[in-house]
Structures are given as C-alpha cells and as structure tokens.
C-alpha cells in the first residue's frame, strides 16, 4: 500500500530539531540519536539481509535436505545455474511466470483497476459503494480462503460449469485444460482491488477544471481520458505497475491450492518451482538458485520503484 498521504499534509519532513546537531557535529550524539534504529536494523539484518546473502552463497553450493551434502555442503560454483538453464522445466517456468505477470498484473489488474476507478467516478453512489465493497472483500480475504473460493469456482463441478450448463454450453475441466487461464483470472479477481484503490485516489487528485477545460476545447471522452487524465496520473500508473508486478511475482498459495503447479508443470511459476525443487525433491542448492534469480528480478523492480519514489525520501 502506498501510504504517502501524510506527507502531503504540509508537515515538516525535516524538522528544525536537526539543526543544532549540524552546527557542532559530535559523533557521540549522532550515535545516541540513531540508537533507536538498532532493533529495526538488527531484525532486518538477521532476517532479511541474512537470507539474501546466504541465498547468493547457497546457490553456489550443492547443499540438500538429506544425504551426505546435507551436513557439509560443497562449493560448486555456478553448477546450479548451468544445470538450471539446461533443465527444460526452468525455461518453461520462466515463460509461465512472464505470462502470469503480464496477463494478470500488468494487463488484468491494472486495466481492470483503472477501468473500475473510472466507472466508479461516473456511476450511481449505491452501485459504487456495493461494487467496491465486493471487489475489496476479495482482496482482504486471507489468500488461502480466496484460493479455495477460486478453486471451487473453476472446479469441474464448480460454479462456472454449473452456470455454463444452465446456459446449455458444455463445460470443461478448467483447472486441467486451461490451468494458466484459471490462475490468471483468479489473480485478477483477487488483486484488482489494490489497483482500483490506487487509481481511485489518483483520479480524485485530478482537478476537474482541467478535464472540463479539455472538454470545452472539444476533446471527446476517449481523447480526454488518454490525452489529459492518463498523463496526469502517470506517476500513479508507473508506481502501481511496479507494485502489482512485485506482488504477483510472489503469488504462491493461489496457484498451489488451485492447480498445485500442474497438470505436470503446466502452471509451475518460479516460486512453485523453487518450492518443489527445494522441499519436494530436496535440491536445496537448485531451489536457492531459483530464489536468487527471483530476488534479482525483485531487486531490479525495487530500484526502479525507489527511483520513482525518490522525491519522498529527499
């Protein structure tokens, strides 16, 4: 969630209290003043930085959950990565992850979220309140419950097929025939609320005078939207694209419950592949190599995200 609203209150972000320290900088005082940071730093260093560093190192060893290499793992260099790239499951999994990201996060959640936000602006209030409550409920529900609900919906004997039969259309076993489509739609269902909330807030910040001016100048509805509104909320769009991508990159329970990565490996995205390699097949080094790659992808997005939010820190 982007909680940048409080800074917009015009409150002092760099209050005057820092000034005396700048005049005569004493190392003891700075140390004393930064002491409250310590608990947070320790927690972050041990439990976030620790795994990241050990992930980088662990991916270069042959450690496993059982057997001889469980107790004394040996340094094997880039072996895990070379075997990773020669394993047919890995490129397939990368492709599935990309499809999942693009279809459910970049296109699905963002387009639907923006669409909903726009429609909400021009709809009747009761409709707006009820529909946004429904959409947000799917998002607030614990992920495992949402996963069950989506599983039941797409199951062979589920709601979707019951409805199709009612319409006289023969249903198929969606989770087996179109596993990726099911998890993509389920992730859109579950995640759209976030984008909708972000875009609703962004659209509310667009001054109505500007769109009205464009209207007076003769811009039609679609033109007003693409040439005026979208550029005005550009920053929200780029931030939201990154946040939804990162959230979707770490979707696990949804796919795990709905398809278990199957049938075969037909919906095994990278988080599921890392889990299977490490915990089902005991290939800890292999799983760690996948985890490292995912962390690097996350890091790239993280850097882009930080650059977008730079003004908030400075």
């Amino acid at each position: 969630m982007t909680t940048t609203a409080p800074t917009a209150l015009g409150a002092p972000t760099a209050p005057g209290a820092g000034r005396p320290a700048q005049r005569k900088r004493r190392p003891g005082r700075t140390l004393l003043r930064s002491a409250p940071l310590l608990p947070a730093i320790v927690l972050l260093a041990v439990f976030l930085l620790g795994p990241v560093v050990s992930s980088l190192y662990g991916s270069l060893t042959d450690s496993s959950l059982s057997g001889a290499s469980a107790s004394n793992a040996e340094f094997v260099g880039l072996d895990n990565y070379t075997s990773l790239f020669s394993d047919p499951d890995f490129p397939k999994s990368v492709l599935l992850t990309l499809v999942f990201l693009v279809a459910s996060a970049l296109i699905g959640q963002n387009a639907l979220g923006l669409g909903l936000a726009v429609l909400m602006q021009s709809s009747h209030k009761p409709v707006r309140v009820i529909v946004s409550t429904i959409v947000v409920t799917a998002w607030v529900l614990p992920e495992i419950v949402a996963s069950f609900a989506a599983y039941a919906f797409f199951n062979d004997g589920g709601t979707l097929n019951t409805m199709l039969t009612g319409l006289g259309i023969p249903g198929v076993n969606w989770l087996y025939v179109f596993p990726m489509l099911c998890v993509i739609l389920a992730n859109i269902w579950r995640g759209t609320a976030f984008s909708m909330l972000v875009y609703t807030a962004a659209l509310n910040d667009v001054p109505p005078e500007i769109t009205e001016a464009a209207e007076v100048d003769g811009a039609r509805g679609w033109q007003r939207f693409t040439l005026v509104t979208v550029p005005m909320i550009r920053r929200s769009i780029s931030t939201n694209l990154m946040l939804t991508t990162l959230q979707t990159l770490s979707v696990f329970a949804l796919i795990f419950v709905m398809t278990g990565g199957g049938p075969g490996t037909d919906s095994t995205t990278l988080p599921l592949l890392a889990y299977q390699e490490a915990f089902r097949f005991g290939e800890l080094g292999f799983g760690t190599a996948i985890a490292t790659i995912l962390l690097l992808v996350g890091a790239v997005f993280g850097v882009l995200y930080i650059r977008a939010l730079k003004p908030e820190v400075d």
């Binding site: 992920e143 209207e215 939010l309």
Partner: protein, 307 residues
C-alpha cells in the same frame, strides 16, 4: 459552455453528440455535461453491476456452502440451511487451537513490528542524520523483496540456527518482513505530528525517549493503530511462511491447518471447509473495516498544535 439535449444524450450517448454553445441555463447544464451525463451514469452503473456480480460469485459459494450440510463446489441454495458445519468445525483440534495460534503469531508479530517501527521512525522523522537517506532507501528496497522467493534460503537459515518449528523465530521473521512497510508508514504518520509540542518539552529538559513516549506516541495513536492492524491482517493471512517454518500440528496457524484440512477432508466436507474459512476470515474483514474508519484520524492531528 456545453449543452446537449436529453434526447441526443440518450440516442448517441454523451461522448459522440454534437454540441452547441448556449448561454441560457448553462450553469445547470454544465454539471450534467458529457462525462457525468445521465446515460453515461447508467452505462457505468450497469457495467459495474455486471463486474460486481462476477466478483461476487466465488464469495457467494463460501457463504452458501458453509450453511449447507451437503455442499458441493458449485453455488447452490442449501436445502436445509443450518449452522451445523460451524458447530462441527468449532472443536479445539480443528479450529480453536489453529485460530489461537494465528492470533499469537499475528499479535506477536504486530507488537514487535510496531515497537521497532516507532523507535526507528523517531530519529528518522526528527533528526536529519547522515544515516537517514541510506536507511530509508534500504527500507523502501526491503518492501520490494519477493518474500515468497526468499523462503528456500530462509528455511536453510532457520535449519542452521535450529529455529525450525519455533514460534518465536517465526514471529521475528514475520516481523522483519513487515518492518520495512511499517517503518515507512510510521515515519509518514510521525512527520505529520507537529514538532512544536516536542520543542516545548525539550526546553523543559525532557529527553528524546521521554518526549516520544509522553507526547508523540499519544498524539499518533490512530496512526499506530493503523500500522498495527495492517501488520496483523497481513500476518493473519500469511500462508507460506508458517507453512515452511512450522511443523508441529499444535503450533500451526489456521492458514496452514485449513490447508491440511482441505487435503484430508476437502474432497468430501466442502461445507465444513467453507465454514472454517469464514470463521478464519471474519476477524480480518472486521479489522479492515476498523482500519478504514481510523484512516482519517491522522488528519485530525494538525489541530493539536493550536489552542
């Protein structure tokens, strides 16, 4: 000013109608003009209702199945609605112990996170130190880490430290994962607490920690509650972290035990699964409503400096 007749709007829609400019009753017409035209309003509402129904269907199954003794995976009206499914799962082994564990994990994580975040936010918000910028960038970066991707190395680390199946270890890890976002939120809330009150206290000789406890924390109580609830909801719903780090059935939170319930009885007892899911979901839905109510609270803080 733009004027379209009602007939034009109804016929061709607000977007494509040709417009003539008049001065008469322009004010009244302006608010009715194209983007918020009546036809547009109905169009939007109808599309929204359709999307809303699609989004509602999976949720309806949860509710109807939980009331149905012979529930299937499809939405159907229960023949004899009853709360028997709830009564069946409301036993210590099935739901009460897991829900208690969920509470211990979530509350423990939220307490640790909020304490660490308040302490960290204070110097970040009040002093301009050289460490601020790198620390805030680091925190922002931490919010981007795909935690799911990290679970394999985290598991290896927990094995090395002998922390597997340890509630405290799991709580600390959960706290570390929610800390970046919590620090970021907490600093923003603290920035909006006016500093002038503290300056008065400093002049009277109060220490920084005393000022934090006696002035800042009471003033930003709504903000702290928001962060606490936010972390609580996230941890309550987390499946993967306890799934990997905890093993003993008596320590598993509801998220994980509901999944094993699904594996054991899921193919027959859909009604019970739905009932258990609802019992487990209600607390976070209630907390979410509470947090949206609290959301506006922080804006009232600005008033504290006057009077």
């Amino acid at each position: 000013m733009v004027k379209t007749t009602a007939a034009e709007r109804a016929l061709v829609g607000p977007e494509t109608s040709t417009r003539s400019i008049t001065t008469a009753d322009a004010k009244r017409e302006f608010s009715m003009a194209a983007p918020r035209g009546r036809a547009m309003r109905w169009f939007s509402s109808i599309v929204l209702v359709v999307i809303g129904i699609v989004f509602l269907l999976p949720l309806v199954w949860l509710v109807l199945a939980s009331l149905d003794a012979s529930a299937s995976l499809s939405v159907k009206w229960p023949e004899a609605p009853s709360f028997n499914n709830f009564l069946t799962v409301l036993t210590p082994e099935t739901s009460l112990i897991p829900l208690t564990n969920s509470f211990i994990l979530s509350a423990g994580c939220a307490v640790v996170t909020v304490l660490a975040a308040i302490l960290a936010a204070y110097p970040l918000s009040r002093y301009s130190m050289r460490i601020n910028k790198p620390f805030l960038y680091g925190v922002l970066f931490g919010t981007c880490l795909p935690i799911t991707a990290m679970m394999v190395p985290v598991y290896a680390l927990f094995v090395a430290f002998n922390l597997i199946d340890n509630m405290v270890g799991t709580i600390l890890f959960l706290a570390a994962t929610s800390l970046p976002m919590a620090i970021w939120m907490m600093k923003n809330f603290m920035d909006s607490v006016p500093i002038s009150l503290e300056e008065a206290a400093w002049t009277d000789g109060a220490s920084a920690m005393r000022t934090l406890r006696a002035i800042v924390v009471p003033l930003m109580r709504p903000g702290i509650a928001v962060v606490f609830i936010f972390v609580f909801i996230q941890t309550w719903g987390n499946f993967f972290i306890p799934f990997v780090l905890l093993l003993s059935p008596e320590k598993l939170p509801a998220a994980v035990s509901i999944f094993s319930f699904f594996g054991q009885y899921g193919s027959v007892a859909y009604g019970q699964l739905a009932a258990f899911s609802l019992l487990y979901s209600v607390p976070v839905l209630a907390l979410y409503v509470l947090v949206t109510r609290l959301g506006g609270g922080s804006f009232a803080l600005a008033g504290a400096v006057k009077g």
